[in-house]
Symmetry: C2
Subunit: 686 residues, 2 copies
């Protein structure tokens, strides 16, 4: 392949980073408002950064231990790229968080002194820094692996190691961040509403700062690491399949398929090229969105999410023939890209349309019936996304076999930069509202930030659907890559392919054991949020009791203590579920062999995919049912009515459902698959 | 085989039925108390029977339609035995319900005028009628099939048809009964506590009769059909495996294994012989329990549940060598029997011990945190039962391969009569308390019935664990039987065995589609309960508004209207989830072939097993956490406190979780497997 192809992923990645830097400084140059606003924003920024620093220390220790193990088992280069995969993820999280915590207060200030359009722009720019950092660093890293190791024998191992680095960080950042954000949210809510009966985001509540920190920690840094890892894993799975697929099964990706080595080489390079296209298209879309800042915010954000699949398909259709690639690639890619958009729309339906009215109505007869209805909505919402994934996988498989499924995952994640931009926009707008409230600004400012926030909530639902959908497809691809890697190693050792018959006891036992794991991660994360929230409630109650004048607004709360409690709890509690994800596949793989491990991945996929959809969407439905009542959706039941209180119970349950356990389970199945791929060569002969 | 072996299942079944008849008339001969008590008991009996009659009409229509289809596809005999399998299930439900609705008021009366021991005895006898009817009719029916068709070519088809009849009734009875019982329970509770603020079981509440009817409809008739079908399905799966297993894989069940035909014949007959032993042992245990009536009720019931595995293992160890059978059979049987008991104990831990205190404590900070903690407990409770099933399956597989797994399921269900006795005891004791309250008897009577009821709740948890555990193991066995049947047909047509490789797209797609179904059944049943409960609340509110003097206790409520609403709702709402269970495997089997169907069964198993454990145990934990607070378990929080109200919300959510959706999902996966087994020969060549 020409050197232009070779270099293009890294060049595109670097361009993305340069634009991210440009937007970062543009955001920072915006006016940041009065002293109170800066003080509050300072608290949030300090709390977020303090969490990140402490989290990174824990993760550094983890990386050293696992890096040492990898050094021992797979050599120094594997260990090095594992650490690089992790460091790039940390870097993306750090950059994004910095940008978000500058953008929040500047969004508030723009809403106060400038137009809604400018406020939207600041929030969007802040999100775009994260979006471009995630996609840019991902492409840069994988492009570098490919550039350095293409054609060598251990390119597979290096790719897997890089992916495990990315996955590890995503796992802990997502779970730790998820526990933090919901412990602070639930804790502050309960303490504020129930114990002291003071309104949301009230500056007297010592938990409000931690709640705002949580938005950044969970929805910016956590989500960023998660999407970064999905993108890396999807690309790596496609490359791994191309590297290990048997010559007779090579997919029909080149118009001239006579040279097997050339086809294989193209198969390995193609995922990177397609992701490069995706990043370029994403940059264009981000600038289009910036240009449309004065349109309705909802229109701007939704069209940003829906455009990339369309453009990507057209561009691929035009470009593929130019490099001698068949249109099968375009169709597989499009199946994934449109599938992702469709899943986003289904998610929006279940978390923002008719179902939330049903949940709100059910809350009229009490918290119990409201919770029941939300659970039912969540369960129902599982079907369509799964069917869409199946159809996308089916189409892609018909085009290019298992390689096609991996390309579909790449296609679903091609718009990563845009999805992440919109996702990170959400907490910025949310924070902007909190800062406006806590700084006692004119209620009109809050009105603007509330509108921006509401749009962010809807698009966050779409983004979340995207994330889980792509996770499922990626796991299917990784699962195939794992099996191919095992068979590749077996074949090189003169053994026949692994028998993965569904009725063999090893596979069946693996499936049953795998089905437990999502529930274990769900149980531990739900419990963690509950416990940490309880500690926060106790501390808030203590402050109101022991700080004279706090309730009257005459004294300052001590938010740092709450931040500290949430941080410690999150970092401590993330270890057990995180370890489950990493230890389970290693233990089963080494103790029971690759068949049982394949079964475990399949069982984990079936349960994990459905559970994460169920939990994320039930949580979204409760959240928006509550907001629906607050906006007067149920005549005769306004904020503070019994129906509203019942809906708040649903929202409380939904908080860890949608932001801790649901995403935690989705990342569990990704990490298990990536770890399995890495150890495949070590256990293939068992 | 000698004719004594051939006839013994039918003889034992008939003996069981004779004893059931004896106990039935013994119960009926007990004094039934004063006129008020008889009037209330009459309402409950009439409501229960009215439901049964209307349900049976719907099921008759279903049986005619499906019977006609089977007549067309598989011949007249298959259709006949399908209907017989269904009719025996209906008969067991009818007998059990009759007995239970006589026993309830007589238990109250025994508590009023005799000793606690005699009250326990009446309730136990009432339950034993159901227990013996279920096990007796099951053995009688399967014994007859075996007697008439042994050695013929179509014995497999007849067995499958009989099992599908049993499964179909179980499916609808379980789901319809589950919707009824929880709609009435939730509806009466909400209306009573929230709207009118009157205590539980208050005779003024028009929904209380329906609530008591629901206990019979759901926990007697529904549970009975469910356990009857588990027993039938376990036996049929073992027989089917023995019929179709390849000669070279025949399990080592006979000490002299030189005659392949004899081994196969013994393999087919053995499940019936072992179940016959199980029934005899159960009868002995039931009479032991009767003799111990003056001991602590908890001791009596718990030892009844724990004894059968021990006795069965000993008896099998002694008897098997006498008929030339290896001890491998004993070990496989024991693995299942002890596994079932262990799962029961694990269930008891999660629904009656430390975890419920944690849920109660979490309710101190609100309904939201209480619900979160209960969900976490339910999720955590999935792991151990699944691991126990895996270990039991592993041991059984090591002894006798897949046939051993089926025998383990037979072993787990050998104590069916006892388990069902204890399960049916629960609603009788519950009803007895309700009747005592509604009849205005001395509070001391209620104290006795409350103690009997509390014991019933704990043992019900054990029984429920048993039921789900045996369902999971049975599904594993049925799944194996399905695959063998397919391969058997393929081999007879000169084709190689079906390729069930986990990585083939058909299997993978099947797994993903199968994982949706438990969520669909969960969603529809949760929604149905919510909707029906809402209608009941509206009707109760109407009665309090429109019947003058009702609230003051000067006028009579109209319970029949509530019974009618619950009945219509349950019968109507059971159709959709029921159809999912039957249509899904047929559609996928005929459209996509046996590989995809096998994948669907595996995906359904992984998700269904874990979801049903999660829901059943979370529901049990919430229920008992509420009761824990009511009994003063949390110092400073008694009945009516905020913590108690919060726990009531958990209990409301838990009601459909544990008694509608959880069991509904367990039966879904059983029915899908049985239906697949039936159609295996029709789709094997696709």
């Amino acid at each position: 392949m020409d050197s232009i192809y070779l270099l293009s992923p890294m060049i595109a990645g670097a361009v993305g980073l340069v634009i991210a830097a440009f937007l970062y400084f543009r955001v920072k140059a915006q006016p940041s408002g009065n002293e109170t606003m800066n003080r509050i924003a300072g608290y949030i920024r300090e709390g977020s950064m303090a969490f990140l620093v402490r989290e990174y220390k824990v993760l550094a220790a983890y990386c050293l231990v696992v890096g040492a193990l990898m050094f021992y088992a797979l050599g120094s280069e594997a260990a090095l790229w594992f650490i690089l995969g992790a460091v790039l993820s940390l870097l993306a999280g750090f950059i994004g968080m910095k940008a978000a915590t500058f953008a929040n207060v500047r969004t508030t200030q723009a809403a106060a002194e400038s137009t809604k359009g400018n406020a939207l722009l600041v929030a969007l720019d802040g999100g775009a820094v994260m979006g471009l950092a995630v996609a840019g660093l991902g492409l840069l890293g994988l492009g570098a692996v490919y550039y350095c190791y293409r054609g060598t024998e251990h390119v597979g191992t290096i790719l897997h190691s890089f992916a495990v680095g990315a996955s590890s960080i995503a796992l802990f950042a997502r779970i730790g961040g998820g526990i933090y954000t919901k412990a602070a949210d639930v804790g502050a809510d309960i303490a504020g509403k129930v114990i002291e009966n003071i309104p949301e985001d009230d500056p007297r509540n010592p938990g409000v700062i931690a709640d705002n920190v949580g938005d950044n920690v969970g929805d910016v840094a956590g989500m960023g690491a998660d999407i970064y890892e999905s993108m890396v894993a999807a690309i790596v799975s496609a490359m791994a399949i191309a590297l290990t697929i048997a010559p007779m099964s090579l997919p029909q990706i080149m118009t001239d398929s006579s040279d097997v080595a050339a086809v294989r080489m193209m198969g390995v390079g193609l995922p990177l090229i397609l992701s490069t296209l995706g990043l370029i298209i994403s940059i264009v879309v981000i600038f289009m969105a910036r240009a449309l800042k004065n349109k309705k915010p909802a229109t701007v954000l939704r069209s940003s999410l829906m455009l990339p699949p369309v453009i990507l398909t057209i561009v691929s259709y035009i470009c593929m023939p130019m490099i001698g690639v068949t249109q099968n690639v375009t169709w597989a890619l499009a199946a994934g890209a449109f599938g992702g958009a469709l899943i986003g729309l289904v998610t929006e339906y279940y978390t923002a349309m008719k179902p939330i009215r049903l949940v709100a109505e059910a809350a009229q007869t009490g918290a119990g019936t409201g919770v029941i209805r939300g659970l039912a909505v969540g369960m129902e919402s599982v079907a369509l996304p799964m069917i869409i994934v199946v159809i996308a996988a089916y189409i892609a498989d018909a085009q290019l076999g298992l390689y096609g499924i991996a390309l579909a995952a790449v296609g679903m994640l091609a718009g990563t930069a845009v999805v992440m931009t919109v996702d990170a926009y959400g907490p910025i707008a949310d924070n902007a509202g909190g800062i406006s409230e806590m700084s006692g600004l004119d209620p009109k400012v809050r009105e603007i930030t509330d509108e921006l926030d509401a749009v962010g909530n809807t698009t966050a639902a779409i983004g979340k659907g995207f994330a889980i959908g792509s996770a499922i497809l990626t796991v299917v691809a990784l699962f195939s890559a794992f099996n191919m890697e095992v068979n590749h190693v077996r074949q090189m050792n003169g053994m026949g392919p692994m028998q993965l018959d569904l009725t063999s006891s090893g596979v069946l036992i693996g499936i049953l054991l795998g089905s437990i794991l999502p529930f274990l991660v769900g149980a531990t994360t739900m419990t963690s949020v509950g416990k940490a929230a309880g500690k926060i409630v106790v501390e808030i109650a203590r402050q109101f009791k022991e700080i004279p004048g706090l309730l009257q607004g005459k004294a300052e709360p001590q938010p740092a203590k709450i931040v500290d409690i949430a941080t410690s709890a999150a970092l401590w509690e993330m270890i057990l579920p995180g370890m489950v994800a990493i230890v389970a596949p290693v233990a089963i793989g080494f103790l029971m062999g690759p068949q049982a491990l394949a079964g475990m991945l399949a069982g984990g996929l079936a349960v994990g995919a459905t559970m994460s959809l169920f939990m994320a969407n039930a949580g979204g439905a409760w959240d928006n049912a509550k907001k629906f009542i607050e906006k007067g959706g149920l005549p005769g039941h306004k904020k503070g009515s019994d129906a509203h209180k019942a809906a708040v119970v649903g929202d409380t349950v939904g908080d860890p459902f949608k932001d801790t356990s649901g995403p935690g389970i989705a990342i569990l199945i990704k990490v298990m698959s990536v770890v399995s791929l890495l150890i495949a060569q070590l256990i293939a002969l068992r």
